[in-house]
């Protein structure tokens, strides 16, 4: 299925392979591009047809011009948001992974810790915002913690469940070698869990930027969340959409990076 067509076009020569690669890339980029263009066009058309006011649903053309004119301001906000996103997600990665391993370590811990983790996901941020503020002030720390809180959970569950995926025969072999818990983890269960862990990371990273945006609701002087709040107050719906667009693009880039990393690390799975 994987674009066999495109690969067949090019003969097995250096130049041919190069042309084939370019063709393949274009062929790959084409369908999402077409879909996207079609959707944007439809959006523009609907807005004009229904004569929707820009403060309700701005047309893509308007969003684009606003984006361009706002580029200088946006830079600062994007940097501020990413400054919260990256450490927050890093923290989520480390704690999520550690908790996943911990939960897996014994059914006892699983039963004791899981309900607490589920609870951590159900507490509305607004409820703990005062505690965070009183505990950590208005600096970066509480926002980083919110991002971590919003993103660590899928990593925990996917790690804990993924660790159960190891093959029985392989597990028994390592046990027969006298492998202790940690060796079993490192040599077998972790590699076997990697695909699942990456699934969790992909879900988590999708929440990371928007998590930072929400965290800025707690109080921040720059960031896409601040930009959105200001735009909402000023009925600049076009700016709200610009912010949403930028948030999406950042997230898609991060998501793509994780996917690439996954392909590189879990390469043994792709083999024929």
């Amino acid at each position: 299925m994987r674009s066999e067509q495109a690969q067949r076009i090019a003969p097995e020569t250096a130049i041919g392979r190069h042309i084939g690669e370019v063709q393949r890339r274009l062929a790959q980029a084409f369908p999402p591009f077409v879909l996207l263009s079609a959707m944007v066009a439809a959006w523009e058309l609907i807005v004009w047809q229904l004569a929707l006011p820009a403060w309700l649903l701005p047309p893509p053309s308007r969003i684009l011009t606003t984006l361009l004119s706002n580029l200088p301001i946006l830079g600062e906000h994007v940097v501020a948001t990413l400054t919260v996103t990256i450490p927050g997600f890093g923290l989520a990665l480390v704690t999520g992974f550690a908790l996943g391993v911990l939960i897996d370590a014994s059914p006892l811990l699983r039963r004791a810790v899981y309900p607490l983790l589920v609870t951590s996901q159900t507490v509305p941020i607004v409820a703990i915002a005062p505690l965070l503020v009183v505990g950590f002030g208005f600096g970066m720390l509480p926002k980083v913690l919110v991002v971590a809180l919003v993103t660590f959970f899928p990593i925990v569950v996917n790690t804990a469940d993924g660790l159960q995926a190891a093959d029985r025969d392989q597990r028994r072999l390592l046990e027969a070698m006298g492998a202790n818990y940690w060796q079993l983890l490192r040599l077998l269960r972790l590699p076997a869990a990697l695909p699942s862990i990456f699934t969790g990371i992909k879900v988590a990273i999708t929440y990371s930027v928007i998590g930072a945006v929400l965290a800025e609701w707690i109080g921040a002087s720059a960031g896409l969340g601040v930009y959105i709040a200001r735009s909402l107050r000023a009925f600049r719906t076009d700016q709200v959409f610009v912010a949403a667009l930028v948030t999406s693009l950042l997230t898609i880039v991060l998501f793509a990076l994780v996917t690439l990393l996954e392909r590189w690390i879990v390469s043994w799975r792709d083999e024929p």
Partner: protein, 311 residues
């Protein structure tokens, strides 16, 4: 109050969107609903709470809501962006907001803001207001000595707990009363006492231009009943508080009762009737905003509000 509609007639369904969760600013609506004033006017009113910023005005403009609670600054912004909403009544006659600090902070006049930390909720109005207040108080350019700390939607008590923040812009009728209830001594520099920044209405009742053009009768009947509700609240603050608490039992009874007592004198104040709005107020504040670049262009203030539906 006014002539009741014939009982055989079907009630007209009406939706009102609140700007916030229900509080004592909204008491008149709940009283009118509870006491049957709306029904007498042939209206079946549904009150919807907890809209996030900016939503109510848009929903009123699109007709998804018939009426909404907003405030002058938002209506001004909205009209600049072409959102066709109109203020039809001032719920409280004067600005009851002010800059609050803990009493031991020693902030007794605007020039004391210098060197203090202000807890900002993130509106550009804040800078202009504080700057203006300090200039009026002869603090010159010491505005740069005020440190702005963004606190988002964090409340006064939380924000000032650790000393991250020294003063916050609050509503006296709610947060100010809560401080009294808690026994936290506050100093509040009331906007209206400082006589520096033009007065403005907050909150106001809004509807859409289309509603005014197409169903003026509904607007009139709605305001007749609502007005009666607020008059009741002015005359019977305790009973009005009970009505609100019955509708919204999650609220704190002491806070609601004390707040209602305070607002009883504020809803109408010295105005000839509840809800009255003045062109000066709309024009002067919009002009003030325009002069400071807070809005891209000046609005036509006479189109932003109307008194024509008040009973």
């Amino acid at each position: 109050s006014t002539a009741p509609a014939s009982p055989t007639k079907e009630l007209t369904p009406v939706r009102v969107g609140l700007d916030w969760t229900p509080n004592t600013n909204h008491t008149g609506l709940y009283v009118a609903r509870d006491k049957g004033y709306y029904q007498e006017q042939g209206l079946d009113v549904e009150i919807l709470g907890a809209q996030e910023g900016g939503t109510v005005e848009q929903l009123v403009a699109t007709g998804k809501l018939d009426f909404g609670i907003s405030f002058q600054e938002a209506v001004t912004h909205a009209r600049v962006e072409g959102v066709p909403v109109v203020s039809i009544a001032a719920i409280i006659q004067h600005n009851t907001s002010g800059f609050a600090s803990r009493a031991d902070e020693g902030i007794t006049r605007p020039r004391d803001f210098a060197g203090k930390k202000y807890g900002a909720f993130g509106s550009p109005i804040e800078q202009a207001t504080i700057k203006g207040l300090m200039e009026c108080d002869g603090a010159g350019d010491r505005f740069n000595e005020v440190e702005f700390v963004d606190i988002g939607s964090t409340d006064f008590f939380v924000a000032t707990e650790r000393g991250d923040v020294d003063f916050v812009w609050i509503f006296k009728g709610w947060t100010g009363i809560e401080a009294e209830v808690r026994g936290t001594p506050l100093t509040i520099l009331m906007m209206n006492d400082l006589k520096c920044i033009p007065d403005y209405y907050t909150p106001v009742l809004i509807t859409s231009e289309r509603m005014i053009a197409e169903k003026p009768d509904v607007v009139r009947r709605f305001l007749a009943a609502t007005s009666a509700g607020y008059r009741f609240a002015i005359e019977n603050p305790d009973a009005a508080a009970e009505v609100l608490l019955k509708a919204v039992p999650e609220l704190d009874a002491t806070l609601v009762k004390r707040s209602q007592q305070y607002l009883a004198g504020q809803y109408q104040a010295e105005a000839p009737r509840w809800g009255e709005q003045k062109l000066d107020v709309w024009r002067d504040y919009a002009q003030w905003m325009a002069d400071r670049g807070l809005i891209a262009r000046m609005i036509e203030p006479e189109k932003a509000f109307t008194n024509q539906f008040l009973p």
